[in-house]
């Protein structure tokens, strides 16, 4: 049973692909409202960890519990309590940004209408392109749209895998501001990055991941 005030609990989490261990016996917990930055080089297991927490991958052994729900046993409840931003923006390129938000909102049961969709696009500086097809967007614009989607009526937990990828300095500032606002509203964030400079908010706690292991005690910056 999860403790009150705990957003995420990981117990002995291990993930193996064949003979390769992507994660090895991870045990940690995240309090509600905490901002966790997961640092580590390429191949450290950051994406695997976030995929398991999001229910996209199953652990080989161990448990992960999100707001009291086991990611393997109650995946639908877990998915309802989080949003996951992956490496790929995961957008429909034949759709306009507004249509992408409409589809996402409908599928995820987001309580929002056209007004909120337009506001989400405005927040990420995409209003002028709201009627254009995503196919013609640059990588950075696609990332902005993917982020606008994540911050559309956000649930209590965000899992962000390298969210600054492709963003220009203006996009990065917008994201920092959105993360601050979300943190102030008691939202919990687990964010992976391998470029710590300028991407880690001062209020965050840092996990260092190397070769699938948490190295040393997690610490605050």
């Amino acid at each position: 049973m999860a403790e009150a005030g705990i957003a995420t609990e990981i117990q002995g989490l291990t993930k193996r692909y064949g003979v390769l261990y992507a994660l090895q016996n991870l045990t940690e917990s995240v309090k509600k409202g905490e901002f966790i930055c997961i640092l580590g080089p390429n191949g450290a297991g950051k994406t695997t960890l976030l995929k398991i927490l999001s229910t996209l991958a199953k652990p080989t052994s161990g448990r992960a519990i999100i707001f009291g729900n086991d990611v393997v046993e109650e995946p639908e409840k877990v998915r309802a309590s989080l949003r996951y931003l992956s490496h790929q923006p995961g957008l429909y390129e034949e759709f306009t940004p507004l249509e992408n938000l409409w589809f996402y909102g409908g599928l995820y049961g987001v309580k929002a209408g056209k007004k909120e969709y337009k506001q989400a696009l405005e927040n990420f500086g995409l209003s002028a392109r709201s009627q254009d097809r995503v196919r013609g967007f640059s990588r950075g614009m696609k990332q902005r749209l993917a982020l606008a989607r994540v911050f559309l009526d956000p649930p209590p937990l965000l899992l962000l895998d390298e969210p600054y990828t492709g963003l220009d300095s203006e996009g990065a500032q917008i994201l920092q501001k959105m993360l601050e606002t979300y943190h102030q509203s008691e939202g919990t964030v687990l964010m992976s990055t391998h470029h710590p400079e300028g991407e880690i908010p001062p209020f965050s706690r840092v996990w260092r991941l190397e070769k699938g292991c948490l190295t040393g005690a997690p610490n605050s910056l």
Partner: protein, 223 residues
């Protein structure tokens, strides 16, 4: 449940209406294949068997284009993760994909059937309704198996080839049922006679197989 299915179906149809990746390719392939078969098959000796057999070969092969693209495109763009992370029963994702494939294959058949009638100077009209019944039950089975195998092979680099290698052995009973039932119908004109032998094959592909594949879909898409 129906709201989610409607949203997923609208998404697939709108994507196809704009991208035109599946339908155009399938229809062009079907017509080209039909054209080649017209010259290759000696239809003068047994026109019903040849025309009927050629029709089913074209439908089965043209459909595989839709099956190989449906989930593979979602995977390539990363939008499959968006679908899999939605707080909904994942079987709805499979059902919606099968429904959109059913619409695409029905569209291909709607174009191919009159083309066959024109090319082969052959009329399905005297037995049109029972013939469409056999086409419908065959298409449902074909689409279910095809969508599932499309899911199974989507992660492979050689997915188009792998899909053919895995799908067609599974489809052999359905293909035999479709060819024989429709040939019997076209020759004898009796629905009862046409379907009596192959009824259980159609039951298996239209009822048992969809139920099994809906259950197995979740295992296929997890890492």
């Amino acid at each position: 449940m129906f709201r989610i299915l409607r949203i997923l179906l609208i998404k697939d149809l709108l994507m196809e209406a704009r991208g035109k990746e599946i339908l155009v390719a399938s229809i062009v392939f079907a017509l080209l294949f039909l054209f080649l078969l017209y010259f290759a098959l000696p239809i003068t000796q047994s026109p019903i068997e040849s025309t009927n057999g050629a029709f089913w070969v074209v439908v089965f092969f043209a459909s595989t284009l839709a099956f190989s693209r449906s989930f593979a495109k979602e995977r390539d763009t990363g939008s499959l993760e968006t679908l899999l992370l939605a707080p909904v029963d994942r079987s709805l994702i499979f059902i919606s994909k099968a429904l959109s494939n059913l619409i695409f294959v029905a569209f291909v058949i709607t174009i191919a059937l009159p083309a066959f009638a024109i090319f082969y100077n052959f009329s399905f009209l005297p037995v049109l309704l029972p013939f469409l019944g056999i086409v419908t039950v065959t298409t449902v089975g074909l689409v279910t198996a095809g969508t599932f195998m499309g899911t199974l092979t989507m992660q492979s680099r050689a997915r188009e080839m792998l899909l053919l290698l895995l799908l067609f052995p599974l489809l052999i009973p359905l293909f035999m049922g479709a060819v024989n039932a429709s040939a019997t119908l076209l020759k004898a004109g009796s629905t009862e006679e046409a379907t009596s032998t192959w009824r259980w094959i159609f039951f298996f592909f239209d009822l048992f197989l969809p139920a099994l594949m809906v259950v197995l879909f979740d295992f296929l898409v997890e890492e």
